[in-house]
């Protein structure tokens, strides 16, 4: 590593440590930010010599990255940005902090995938899904798919591991010479009714989908979720015992196994490591408070709300909605979510934008109570499970109230 990069890397680690010590954050951004100021090519220098996998998509990035890092860990030490700091500053911090490791698994914000492809020259890229997210500023879904497709075309040596169930992902990946397809399921279909290749309607029947105007259709997946396990490309079924809830996380586990297989990890060796992951940056964390077993679920956009309903128990549920900058300022998406799975449960609502949610739930025939604070919600539910589903900053607020549970 050039001297400038060594200095930058060292300063980056120090800044991250200082940030943590000062209680200003987990240090996963500030260190990289300073390091990149000293050496703009620091990420490329830190990436050199490592076998790297990138994980990108609208939903499931953080969890899949965590599971994939656990699976690749079979082979040796893995650097990873486990706290969701998924832009180049976060990647730089993660690699600097980890020191020399043969492997790295990095979560990448979908907008930054082209840039990080160039900087890190990964061996594998996993593409999870694309759906509407923070529409007041994010690129539209079709533009994002186009951006990925163009970027991947410039890196033909990268092995792509992609979700066969999402037409936008399939189209983005289809130009790459080496693709492994997995089936992780897709509950949300409302961003892929129009073919990204030709503009014709896309038809769906059971698991299958196809364009009515061109040859784009669901590829045959080599990795498939089946019952409580995953079928590998040889047809062998592996039981998956996760601490993380829901079928969505079985899909994330299948993705992690498919990714790790590209590094030579056998699924039989990886499955036990997947079961060690208990929570991911506070997500799925369970906290006992006043006899209530509180579980935290993050839901940032319509697709991830559907997934959260799938994971949640039939139990009292607190929903919290903010619309601050990191969340997106627009709450219109609340009407893209069908909240009817919550009918019949005790539902409490809170957050900066609880009234937007109140109007939505009323139209959805879901009864609810409005509470001002998280503590009030805890007092209003009986002892036992309390599911908490919140969007990004609302989730962070509740995490802070629960003393930064991890």
């Amino acid at each position: 590593m050039p001297l400038r990069a060594k200095v930058a890397s060292s300063v980056s680690r120090t800044a991250a440590a200082l940030s943590r010590a000062a209680g200003r954050g987990d240090g996963s951004v500030i260190g990289g930010w300073i390091g990149l100021k000293i050496d703009p090519d620091l990420l490329a220098h830190l990436a050199a010599g490592r076998a790297i996998a990138l994980v990108s998509g609208t939903n499931g990035k953080t969890t899949t990255t965590r599971l994939a890092a656990a699976a690749v860990g079979v082979l040796g030490p893995v650097a990873t940005n486990g706290f969701g700091a998924n832009m180049p500053t976060g990647h730089t911090s993660a690699l600097a902090k980890a020191g020399q490791t043969p492997y790295a698994v990095l979560e990448v914000d979908e907008h930054y995938l082209p840039k990080v492809l160039v900087a890190t020259e990964p061996r594998v890229v996993a593409l999870l899904n694309l759906s509407r997210d923070q529409l007041d500023r994010a690129k539209e879904v079709a533009m994002m798919a186009q951006m990925w497709r163009t970027a991947l075309a410039q890196h033909p040596g990268v092995h792509v591991v992609a979700n066969a169930d999402d037409p936008m992902v399939v189209w983005a990946a289809a130009g790459s010479p080496a693709v492994t397809w997995f089936s992780a399921g897709q509950r949300w279909h409302d961003d892929s009714w129009v073919c990204p290749e030709c503009g014709s309607p896309i038809e769906r029947q059971a698991d299958q989908w196809w364009c009515t105007g061109c040859s784009l259709r669901r590829p045959v997946p080599q990795w498939v979720v089946e019952d409580e396990g995953v079928v590998d490309p040889r047809g062998a079924w592996h039981k998956i015992s996760l601490q993380l809830p829901g079928r969505v996380n079985l899909g994330n586990a299948a993705t992690a196994l498919a990714l790790a297989a590209q590094f030579g990890v056998r699924p039989t060796d990886a499955v036990t490591r997947l079961s060690t992951v208990a929570s991911v940056a506070g997500r799925y964390a369970q906290v006992v408070r006043d006899g209530r077993n509180i579980r935290l679920l993050l839901a940032k956009n319509p697709a991830s709300w559907l997934e959260a309903f799938d994971m949640a128990d039939n139990a009292p549920t607190l929903l919290s909605i903010n619309a601050r900058d990191p969340d997106g300022l627009d709450t219109s998406w609340l009407f893209d979510v069908d909240f009817s799975p919550l009918r019949g449960r005790q539902v409490l609502i809170t957050g900066d934008r609880a009234y937007d949610l109140a109007v939505r739930l009323e139209v959805n025939d879901v009864r609810f109570q409005h509470v001002r604070t998280f503590g009030e919600a805890v007092r209003l539910v009986p002892p036992g499970r309390l599911e908490v589903i919140a969007n990004y900053t609302a989730f962070q607020d509740i995490r802070a109230e629960l003393d930064r549970v991890l």
């Binding site: 007041d136 219109s332 609340l334 009407f335 937007d356 109007v359 939505r360 139209v363």
Partner: protein, 238 residues
């Protein structure tokens, strides 16, 4: 209203024009009709299906440039909406759907013909209008102020044959001065997505237009009232 007294509401092309919770407007109209004991039937018509011409209310949502241009071509070729409007149907359009009602609009850098149902045209503005949108509504409609969220790159220029829906006090709307447009039973707004969730009085106006009733029994709008008050206080403070 059709002879069997059922209010028929058509959501036009949800496969193309549904980007920001647009379904909300359909759900809100149906619910507010049902709570008054008015029979209601909703229909979602995809862009590869012919548009029925005998519905009472037609809804147009928002969309990206490509789908917006496609929707314009298909609606012009179909002709059903023009026939329905000629027979007195109600149209409520938001965002990209609002632009479609005019003579022309810009998408992907090209001018496209609109449906020419209202006297206005749209082009590109110097900046994207993203944020809260609000202001007093045309007093002839007798409604409380408009409040909503806008996200569009267009500017809309009204002709003499159409009235602005509202005067802008927050946001951009048509051009920073006026917002939306209406004439007869056609109403369009840049307040996008589930615009009726913050403006239940507009929902009731559409239902009155569709039924011909001068008034409808009031509903418990506690939560929408709180939402409106909270949003208007937030925009006044900023």
């Amino acid at each position: 209203m059709s002879s069997d007294s059922t209010i028929r509401i058509v959501w036009i092309y949800p496969d193309l024009l549904s980007t920001y919770g647009d379904r909300g407007n359909l759900l809100i109209l149906a619910r507010r009709a049902a709570l008054r004991g008015l029979p209601v039937q909703t229909l979602e018509v995809r862009s590869d299906q012919p548009l029925p011409t005998t519905a009472d209310i037609y809804l147009l949502g928002g969309g990206e440039d490509g789908p917006q241009a496609l929707a314009a071509q298909r609606l012009i070729a179909d002709g059903g909406l023009h026939r329905a409007v000629a027979q007195g149907s109600v149209v409520f359009a938001v965002c990209a759907g609002y632009q479609l009602l005019g003579g022309s609009f810009f998408a992907k850098g090209t001018r496209y013909a609109g449906l020419n149902l209202l006297d206005f045209s749209s082009d590109r503005g110097p900046t994207r209008a993203v944020g809260e949108l609000g202001g007093p509504i045309d007093p002839r409609l007798g409604l409380p102020p408009l409040t909503g969220f806008e996200n569009h790159g267009g500017r809309t220029h009204l002709g003499p044959g159409v009235s602005p829906l509202a005067r802008v006090t927050t946001g951009i709307g048509n051009d920073g001065t006026t917002e939306g447009a209406w004439r007869g039973k056609l109403l369009g707004t840049y307040s996008h997505g589930p615009a009726l969730s913050r403006n239940p009085a507009i929902a009731d106006l559409l239902l009155r237009w569709a039924t011909g009733y001068d008034s409808l029994p009031p509903l418990d709008d506690t939560w929408s009232d709180r939402l409106r008050a909270e949003r208007m206080a937030a925009t006044a403070a900023s």
